[in-house]
């Protein structure tokens, strides 16, 4: 990534710029990438509604969809969110296959997950004592939201220690080196093993890349398109016996669920 910005508030704002740029790029493509058939009606009607909103808000005047749902729900410091953006992009980078984690909306997906019941371990068994292994995120007395804060800030501190610069400003290779050591459980993080944090970061990144777009990740179903995964298809009975690979248009729950 070329975005080697320092960590002051002004410059950190620029860190999220790739996302913004990609957002503009994405929505331009989205209309052309729509799944076919009866689904078009619903998709276009919801799109035109968003367009109206965008215009009302005076967005860039281009008639592009504005993503009102992309503001931070969980992370209070933009610096933490900027580290998250870089980290998820290292796990799932943009390449010839298509967009990386940032363009797919993964950072905002994770932010929303951490703001909800998953982030505060609502369905988990939380009775103490929290003894024994901290190998898994759920073994920690920290909730998942706290694990992200401690983990991301430790990545930043590690970058300062090793490279005398913050994580966001470090080179890709330096970021990968730090994250590899986290994955190999070689770094101390308060309340959780670095591997436990890394595994949580990795699994939520893949969730954000490939979940139904309703959760704010897998923007415009681009994760599914890369993987040739069709999504919510009512029936494969007509083609399941085929010898050849069958490429299908993607269908999201927005289009699939009865309304």
């Amino acid at each position: 990534m070329a975005d080697n910005n320092s960590n002051n508030p002004k410059n950190t704002n620029e860190v999220s710029d790739p996302g913004r740029r990609n957002f503009v790029k994405n929505t331009g493509i989205a209309v052309g990438g729509v799944a076919g058939g009866a689904l078009l009606g619903g998709l276009f009607s919801s799109r035109s509604k968003n367009d109206t909103n965008s215009n009302t808000a005076g967005d860039k005047g281009s008639g592009k969809e504005k993503r009102y749902e992309e503001a931070r729900m969980y992370f209070t410091r933009i610096a933490d969110f900027a580290i998250l953006e870089q980290a998820v992009e290292r796990i799932f980078p943009e390449d010839d296959n298509g967009p990386g984690a940032i363009e797919l909306g993964v950072p905002y997906y994770i932010d929303k997950q951490l703001a909800g019941p998953y982030g505060s371990n609502v369905g988990d068994f939380r009775q103490g004592p929290f003894i024994g292994s901290k190998a898994a995120a759920s073994d920690s007395s920290l909730d998942r939201g706290q694990i992200f804060i401690n983990g991301l800030r430790t990545m930043d501190a590690e970058s300062q220690k090793r490279f005398d610069t913050n994580f966001v400003k470090a080179t890709e290779d330096q970021q990968v080196e730090i994250m590899t050591d986290f994955a190999d459980d070689k770094v101390e993080v308060k309340g959780i093993s670095s591997k436990g944090f890394f595994n949580l970061l990795r699994s939520t990144t893949l969730e954000g890349a490939y979940c139904d777009p309703l959760y704010g990740g897998n923007r415009d179903m681009k994760g599914w398109k890369m993987k040739e995964y069709p999504g919510a298809i009512a029936s494969y009975a007509h083609m399941i016996e085929e010898d050849k690979f069958v490429k299908m248009d993607q269908v999201s729950l927005t289009d699939y669920q009865p309304k």
Binding site: D124, F125, A136, D139, E228, A232
Partner: protein
């Protein structure tokens, strides 16, 4: 204040396959049944439009939330157990109407004649010496031939689609009610390779069924549309045989069944050696009730059944130090980090439609089952099936790459996308045998939401457990070589591969085991408790071992057998259905 309700003929804990079958059979005979289900009410409408991998398969929406109750886990007797805190590590327990029977894959296997007489047959064939120290082999007190008609009954209730196993001639009284599922490229590729190697592949029998079918109770199951959302999901189309579509519907239309949801059974109430009823909590209001009944049926999952027996102080708790007692013994499972590890073949030039499929769409073979192997030449007992299935790969949970590729970053992304549809897995499912120090009891530290002790699982892998999986992996590798896979990944099973929080699966059995001897078993072959005539404990808790294939059909068959026993008991005014003195020959 505990409120005692009006007495009924039977109270049944659980509304999964075991509880559902008991409820259907009893109500068909006119008996009044109250069902207690800890989970919420659900019906087919809840599953419409539910094709959401994150919500159901990753966050495990249809599984018991562990904030209410979980297990604690340790390896050895001298360790302190710690709780399984999240369904991220391991989701095991179903909940809500229909239990795990709603979100199952629908693979239906009959266990082998040898499974039910494992001790006798092993000694007959090899002598007592072949049994490793500390392994606990036990007969069930019932044979395959005696159980066959109940398997047949379960298959007919569920409309199972299948074809006979060529290596088990003469073991079926009738054909499967519906023909096998459609054949896919993956199934054809496996079948050809297996036949080339001289094996005997046949189609996995499936509860996602090949054509619309009406069962003997008049319930209709739709033909499957292969939509790829099966395991972890309720069926969008009513095309998977589950308790809601079959046995609970039958019980409901009798007018004699009342299912109470959000009703958490906390004790089996008993007096003077007789079960009085079930004490439960309405978790919506916090009120406590006792539901009295002539017979009490505990038909939850293995853990629920075992824990209720221990909490209620019925039967003698198992003591791993001297091997005495029974409640909690014979814990066995298809372990997710051992039995369920897979050999994966990656194909550079060939793409399969992996995104399409259904839970039990596949092909299997029995050439390495316990009856086909000569164990004098092997370092394990029992055997395994080998199979491939096409369940429909979903993208969050399927990011497999050949060995040597990292699990994140540039190469990972590229390869995980490239191989997403270029893969065939071979899976073994092996028999799991009981060990003296693998057992369940009550945890001394951690409690559930009512303050009752959690169930504690103590379990360790033995050489036998690892050896059978290593051997099966090699056979899987040979099959993938024959299929022409370019890269084959064989999971590494080392001495460090150990039982942990990820191990237990929904294929876990034991705790209230069946047998012919009250000294070594808790229930007779009608799932009737030896020590308490009007108490039946039904389900995988009665398995003295875990066979080499999926357990649900055996749960179903034993439940039909148990229901027959309950009816006999009610018609004949009680008593033991199996005479101890005739059967307790050991």
């Amino acid at each position: 204040m505990v409120k005692t309700l009006e007495k009924v003929d039977a109270v049944v804990v659980g509304s999964g396959w075991a509880g559902g079958i008991a409820a259907a059979e009893l109500t068909k005979k006119g008996y009044k049944v109250v069902g207690l289900e800890r989970g919420k009410a659900q019906k087919r409408e809840d599953f419409v439009g539910a094709k959401d991998e994150l919500r159901y398969d990753v966050r495990k929406l249809m599984f018991q939330e562990l904030n209410k109750e979980t297990l604690t886990i340790r390896n050895t007797l001298d360790e302190t157990a710690t709780p399984n805190r999240s369904n991220d590590t391991n989701a095991i327990n179903g909940t809500a109407t229909g239990g795990s029977g709603v979100h199952w894959n629908g693979m239906v296997y009959r266990w082998l004649p040898t499974d039910f007489e494992m001790h006798t047959k092993t000694v007959e064939k090899y002598g007592e010496k072949i049994i490793p120290k500390d392994m606990q082999l036990q007969d069930w007190g019932i044979t395959y031939d005696e159980l066959e008609k109940y398997y047949d009954q379960f298959e007919k209730t569920a409309g199972i689609s299948g074809e006979p196993d060529p290596l088990r001639p003469g073991q079926r009284s009738d054909e499967y009610p519906t023909p096998p599922m459609k054949e896919t490229d993956i199934i054809r590729t496996f079948t050809k390779a297996a036949k080339d190697l001289g094996y005997h592949p046949y189609r996995i029998a499936s509860a996602n069924i090949s054509e619309t079918y009406t069962n003997p109770d008049g319930e209709t199951i739709n033909g499957c549309v292969y939509c790829a959302f099966c395991e972890s999901f309720g069926c969008d189309f009513g095309a998977k045989a589950d308790p809601i579509a079959t046995v609970l519907a039958t019980a409901n239309k009798s007018g004699k069944y009342e299912l109470r949801n959000n009703s958490y059974a906390v004790r089996i109430v008993h007096e003077n050696g007789k079960a009085v009823g079930i004490k439960y909590v309405d978790t919506e209001t916090g009120e406590e009730f006792i539901q009295p009944a002539d017979i009490v049926v505990v038909a939850g999952f293995t853990f629920t059944n075992t824990r209720l027996m221990l909490l209620s102080e019925i039967g003698k708790p198992y003591n791993p130090k001297d091997g005495t007692g029974v409640i909690g013994s014979h814990l066995t499972a298809h372990q997710r980090n051992l039995t369920h590890t897979r050999v994966r073949g990656f194909f550079d030039e060939k793409k399969f439609n992996r995104y399409a499929g259904t839970g039990a769409l596949g092909v299997t073979m029995d050439d390495f089952n316990v009856e086909q192997l000569d164990h004098t030449k092997l370092d394990f007992l029992h055997g395994f099936c080998l199979r491939t299935s096409q369940r429909g790969d979903r993208p969050i949970t399927n990011n497999h790459v050949p060995a040597g590729v990292p699990s994140w970053g540039k190469e990972f992304k590229d390869k995980s996308i490239f191989y997403a549809n270029r893969r065939i897995d071979v899976q073994q499912q092996n028999g799991a045998l009981a060990w003296r120090e693998n057992y369940m009891d009550l945890d001394p530290t951690y409690t559930d939401m009512f303050g009752d002790p959690l169930l504690r699982v103590t379990s360790k892998f033995h050489d036998q457990d690892r050896n059978i999986v290593r051997y099966a992996h090699q056979r899987g590798k040979e099959l993938l070589e024959q299929m022409g896979a370019d890269h084959i990944t064989v999971p590494e099973i080392t001495e460090e591969t150990e039982f942990d929080k990820t191990s237990l699966s929904d294929h876990t059995g034991g705790g209230v085991v069946m047998g012919d001897n009250p000294e070594t078993s808790a229930v007779n072959n009608y799932s009737q408790v030896w020590d308490m005539d009007n108490l039946f404990v039904v389900g995988a808790s009665s398995f003295p071992l875990m066979g080499s294939s999926n357990p649900t059909a055996t749960v179903g068959a034993l439940a039909y057998r148990a229901a027959e026993g309950m009816i006999k008991f009610l018609e004949n005014g009680g008593g033991q259905l199996v005479k101890k003195e005739e059967t307790a020959k050991a």
